[in-house]
Symmetry: C2
Subunit: 104 residues, 2 copies
């Protein structure tokens, strides 16, 4: 399993453009066979801060995602709408334990 | 719905104590009726950094959680094992949309 959480910081006047492109990307990404979870959150205190929480079956699934047409299309929008470079964390699941995660 | 992600930074020699107490707390917390999700992650790059991702039906469910015996018992362990003060973010769900979240 491979878990990645990224934080995006978006230009205030580009929030809606980023949001709709990211929702479209998420709708397509969650259909990929190796994607267990792909969720998008907006900071309640800072509407220009978003976070994507991404759970893949393995690193190969993550690599495959990065080559999809929907990811590449989304990436162009993201790069045009970001205020500054994002940052992220890679995690291991502790609870629930990794053997309890599966694509629903 | 109320979504909270907290980051904990634990003393290196207290990681196992923190981890087992937090798993026990998570097992009890997820049984609370207003708790939609309560997950625990460990940073792949920094084993002393943990993150709890908590989704409640509403703020009342979060408040109720903070009064449970298992939370209060856990809090004592957490305060004894933390290296430094944690930090957190409150989020709104964008994808999936909030009406699609429910207790499983």
């Amino acid at each position: 399993m491979y878990i990645f959480q990224v934080h995006h910081y978006i230009k205030p006047d580009q929030i809606e453009a980023y949001k709709s492109a990211t929702i479209e990307n998420a709708r397509n990404t969650i259909l990929e066979p190796g994607v267990i979870r792909f969720e998008m959150f907006q900071d309640s205190a800072n509407p220009a801060h978003f976070s994507l929480f991404e759970v893949y079956a393995d690193m190969a699934a993550r690599d495959a995602h990065l080559e999809t047409g929907h990811f590449l299309k989304w990436k162009d929008v993201y790069l045009a709408t970001q205020e500054r470079k994002g940052n992220g964390d890679e995690f291991n699941a502790v609870f629930p334990a990794e053997n309890l995660w599966a694509k629903k």
